[in-house]
């Protein structure tokens, strides 16, 4: 028996090694980003390339980044835009999902399908008309423009996922809450929201990451340097003459940290939600 188990494990060894090797290869760019940020600027421009920092770990890039340029400002701008867009988007999609999941709407399923299909349109097709409309409304080059755009972009996925989630919660629960004296919506919010915690967590992380990472709209609609969000701020580090890769990679790490933290906390919910939506879709 033991020998058979051992043999079976030995047979799995190549697959296991292959898995670890592929994982390592996929992790290289991420590792390289961190290693670059921890090297002395002079150590970056050697030939052949030096893998590890030779003269000790150089942390200065992480302090310089907050003082040298406008990075702190970009970080704050991104936080502001992403938080507002996330709150608005989650609120709108919770209400819409209750509507879709709990009421018989005429053509509700077609509407839901339409919501999903709106994802199909190339974003780049929306940019010229959006630009024109923003100019007419005189909100080009404002954070408001980004908040409006990001709120809506997160809606299709959030509505789709939350509707699925809410449908899985038995309606009897609300009915008993209603008998206890709550209004219909009150009962729904009181009963559904706590149970839908994971679903809502997933929409929060999805909306936040979407807004935090968005580049196309931000780079097209924001022209004032002090209004830049992180993605365009980072790109502006690529100088006309030379690029301070050490600083840029430190900025990249700092930009990535909030996303990774959010993700580690909520990954189970997001992956479950994504795959549920995908399998259903």
């Amino acid at each position: 028996m033991a020998a058979a188990g051992l043999r079976r494990r030995a047979r799995r060894l190549p697959a296991m090694l292959a898995a670890f090797f592929i994982c390592f290869v996929f992790a290289i760019p991420f590792l390289w980003m961190i290693l670059t940020s921890l090297k002395l600027p002079s150590e970056l421009f050697t030939s052949p390339v030096q893998v590890f920092p030779r003269s000790g770990v150089y942390w200065e890039a992480y302090t310089r980044i907050w003082t040298a340029g406008q990075f702190g400002r970009y970080f704050w701008n991104s936080t502001l835009v992403a938080s507002i867009a996330t709150s608005a988007s989650v609120a709108l999609s919770v209400f819409a999902a209750i509507g879709f999941a709990r009421y018989k709407l005429k053509g509700g399923n077609y509407l839901l399908l339409g919501v999903l299909l709106s994802q199909l349109f190339p974003l780049v097709l929306l940019v010229p008309p959006f630009y024109t409309v923003l100019r007419e409304l005189r909100i080009l080059d404002t954070h408001l423009a980004l908040v409006i755009a990001y709120t809506s972009f997160a809606l299709p996925f959030s509505i789709w996922m939350l509707t699925g989630y809410f449908r899985s919660i038995p309606a009897e629960l609300e009915e008993s809450a209603m008998i206890d004296g709550a209004t219909r919506l009150g009962a729904q919010l009181r009963v559904i929201l706590p149970l839908a915690g994971p679903g809502i967590a997933a929409t929060v992380i999805y909306s936040f990451i979407l807004a935090w990472n968005e580049f196309l709209f931000a780079t097209t609609f924001i022209s004032s340097p002090e209004l830049r969000t992180l993605p365009i701020g980072l790109q502006s580090f690529i100088g006309q003459y030379s690029t301070d890769w050490n600083l840029l990679m430190a900025g990249a790490v700092v930009t990535t940290v909030p996303v990774i933290v959010l993700f580690v906390f909520l990954q189970r919910y997001l992956v479950a939600g994504l795959t549920a939506g995908a399998v259903k879709g």
Binding site: V49, A149, S152
Partner: protein, 315 residues
């Protein structure tokens, strides 16, 4: 929230209405709940789309406002269709999308199969595989740009040491290598999403099935071909559709690495549309190109959808 007297009244009323059949089918509150989100979507996606179509029928040169915006019918479409840049962009889009699709699906499936079997450290391996998907695309692209650097890039250094090349190559600066270089970044970034979906699909396959197949003497390949693959097919089709749409519409990777260059070697329809709008300031042609871009994608997706329906009927 509600005063006592009122509350009792409400309870009585709710009870009374609850007994009436059809109480739960009252639907107007549903419309009210759905409305704000729908308005937001119409305002930010629906209206701009209509506006884009209207714009595509006009001559709009942003830097020449004195010309006005005369209606020109389908002239913009003709201009775009006749342009050699458009046929180039169609070809680049085809290469870009199909290599992305094949690469991400093949790698995603391979890694999903590897990570689906139990081995120590599997959890860590799975988390690591998600990193490319999680990190912001701008961060990913800039990191790759640094790794591709012609003089000090780690990729060149590695290849020189292996003896594959003699001296550094500007991967993003050569017409022959730029597309491949951007594709590698894109496949790296997109594969984890395919992997997540396929892993979920694999885990839904009952273990008894593969077990009984192996008891019946099926080898690894036969088990994969006749048990795993048919089960996984719907998930694969969805993953393929999403990958096609995402790659097709991708802007960040190409724009940040090459801006469609060198010499339009990486200029897909998406990049061409953007350049027409914000390099040439020709909003009419840009929206016309954008509308055409959308219809090309639609053809892709319809063909896929047909294939999907057909494959479903076979089972």
């Amino acid at each position: 929230m509600v005063r006592r007297g009122e509350k009792e009244g409400l309870v009585a009323r709710e009870r009374a209405t609850n007994r009436r059949p059809g109480r739960l089918h009252r639907s107007w509150p549903g419309y009210v709940l759905v409305l704000p989100a729908m308005l937001a979507l119409v305002g930010v996606i629906g209206y701009p789309l209509v506006r884009a179509f209207v714009m595509s029928l006009h001559k709009i040169i942003l830097i020449r406002p004195q010309l006005g915006q005369p209606f020109v019918g389908f002239e913009n479409y003709l201009t775009v269709l006749k342009s050699p840049y458009f046929s180039n962009a169609i070809w680049q889009t085809f290469v870009w999308t199909s290599v992305n699709l094949v690469g991400q699906l093949a790698l995603g499936l391979l890694i999903a199969l590897l990570l689906n079997s139990a081995f120590p450290g599997r959890g860590i391996a799975r988390s690591v595989m998600l990193i490319p998907w999680v990190i912001p695309s701008v961060v990913a692209v800039l990191t790759w740009k640094w790794m591709y650097d012609g003089q000090f890039g780690v990729i060149n250094s590695f290849l020189v040491r292996l003896g594959v090349i003699e001296k550094g190559v500007a991967w993003l600066g050569n017409t022959g290598t730029a597309m491949g270089a951007v594709l590698i970044e894109s496949i790296w970034k997109g594969t984890p999403f395919v992997l997540i979906m396929l892993l979920a699909g694999l885990q839904a396959i009952p273990a008894e099935l593969t077990d009984s197949a192996s008891v019946d003497g099926a080898n690894v390949w036969q088990r994969f071909r006749y048990v795993t693959l048919p089960f996984l097919k719907p998930t694969i089709v969805i993953a393929a559709t999403l990958t096609t749409i995402y790659s097709y519409n991708n802007f960040n990777a190409i724009w940040l690495m090459t801006e469609g260059g060198p010499l339009r070697a990486t200029e897909t329809l998406t990049i061409l549309t953007y350049k027409l709008a914000f390099r040439n300031f020709d909003m009419g042609s840009a929206t016309a190109a954008g509308v055409l871009t959308f219809f090309v994608l639609l053809v892709f997706v319809v063909v896929f959808g047909r294939q999907y329906v057909k494959s479903q009927m076979e089972f």
